[in-house]
Point group: C2
Chain length 349, copies 2
Amino acid sequence: MYEPGLIPLSFLPENKEFPMSVLATRITPNSLFFLRTHAPYPEHIHLQRWRLTVKGCVRRTIRLKYEDLCALPHSTLPVTLECAGNKRVFFEPKTQGIQWGIGGISHATWTGVPLRLVLEMAGILPHASEVLFEGMDIGPRTDLPGSFSYCRSLPLEKAFHPDTMLAMYMNAEVLPFKHGFPVRLIVPGWYGMASVKWLRRIIVLDHSFQGPFQSRDYVLLEQPNDYSNAVPVTRMQVNSVIARPIDRDVLRRGQHEIYGVAWTGTTPLKVVEVSTDGGETWYQADWVDEEEQYSWRRWRLNWNVLIPGEYTIMARATDGLGNSQPSKTAWNVKGYMNNSIHTVHVYVE
Amino acid sequence: MYEPGLIPLSFLPENKEFPMSVLATRITPNSLFFLRTHAPYPEHIHLQRWRLTVKGCVRRTIRLKYEDLCALPHSTLPVTLECAGNKRVFFEPKTQGIQWGIGGISHATWTGVPLRLVLEMAGILPHASEVLFEGMDIGPRTDLPGSFSYCRSLPLEKAFHPDTMLAMYMNAEVLPFKHGFPVRLIVPGWYGMASVKWLRRIIVLDHSFQGPFQSRDYVLLEQPNDYSNAVPVTRMQVNSVIARPIDRDVLRRGQHEIYGVAWTGTTPLKVVEVSTDGGETWYQADWVDEEEQYSWRRWRLNWNVLIPGEYTIMARATDGLGNSQPSKTAWNVKGYMNNSIHTVHVYVE
């Protein structure tokens, strides 16, 4: 009877977030996995005519059919994807861009061909320096005339990392169209902008790619238009959010569970601490999930509250290097990488 | 390909708002009409066994079958329904309750039996003073032990108003289950809490009803728990919102349309004015829709913007009595009736 659904943020292009308040299983069902698109969806894809071309600084250009990719060795890996703009809504002052709340993140198990197998089939030449991925999604931008297909590059070391994958299945289903059918890139540990959907071309470059989705978007800017000092967005920061209770919830006195997820880009998570008094005192939460290299982990804490009033609940994750979420992430012009401590206010009656 | 959907705010009970950013037709499609529920949905309704009972201070208790209501004269009326908590998210300081944005409002054409026909069938006794409506939705509250069915009363004059209706159809479809099948009340001009869904009993009272959805919720409180000075929420205030552009949108230089809706409870709307400079100068918007007594009206204004930068767009409606939307609605504890001027910030590149 109840139908949790994606939370719409924009429609053309379509951007919707995961309804974090209904977090249940570690795996996000495909129907609730957040949608981040930069352009209208590609036109109908004729799978018989579709080819994945690998060219550029390679020994031989190759054109792979869908069946070719099906026939190559597959691997399977659970990977959490987070939009670089997740939690943007909490920046003060506000920044431009889609106002993602806490649901620009989801978790799935991806199955596909390790990217390096395909790169090795083409044969990388010695002067190669980057690998460029081009999607079939094309659209206008507000800042530049013309149309742009969504393109992003990776340094060679990340492209050749054994976990970087050409994904064809998502949670054991054929990759859904809106998530990049027939094939998308999965770049574990990096923000989602790297995981290009609807792949059609992989181009090995001997220079640094400067397309607008690489050099104008997904960079940290302290000052507007200060692109000479731009820092690229890559690995996910240590982060966590409270799924329940939800902000402004009204609770009865008694026993409640504080429940959420935590994640990080590379080093493992160490601890999640929870405060119910606005940060005065902190309690260690229990892990619901085992550690997995690229996976968010659910956590929980029992809370027995007997005195009516307003409470400020906070959650703070710390990673293995000792990095903790800040109370306020350093502001940047385009509002990326917000990992500030998530705070919810509840009323106990 | 794109699927606008309701924006989920809570799941148990289910509350979802209309995605105002996709406002198109004056009529809201049933699938996008906002959902406001106070309790779990009623159990499966056996229409053969269902009866609408009218009792209390009446000459004769009557029990109407669905077919009886089908056989009575029907009328049809377009009515905009707005949740009393619509725009709650804009209160500062924040208030408890579901954080409705600008989509706790929708518009439909309702068809059903004028309530007074049914009241006249039962025959109101002289000492009657109110009419109570009881829904089939039952659930717990956070502030009181036990379970409560959703009950609200109307003064006799509103109950006997020729436009107050027992609605059985919504936009020419059989009333959808989530909107109150088989029969719901429609109280034109009042906030939506009055339009009780899933009706099962109508009880004519000789006293003032004091149930929690009447006397604890849907009242204006200046101080917490100051129920002795509570003012009931009834008629909708003059109000408007900007549907497009959306907040934090990034626009190209050139021609744009500012587009939205305005509404009011009783007296007709007079004008909507729009500012693009944060309220320094105002321009009169054009009406898209004709005047209709209980219907919101879409409005629009062309905006030709040539200079890049950040702009603050505001819309302000004024009704026939000269009431204009305030820049800030008087704060109340439970966050009702927010009709403050809607403001969106956009970036022009």
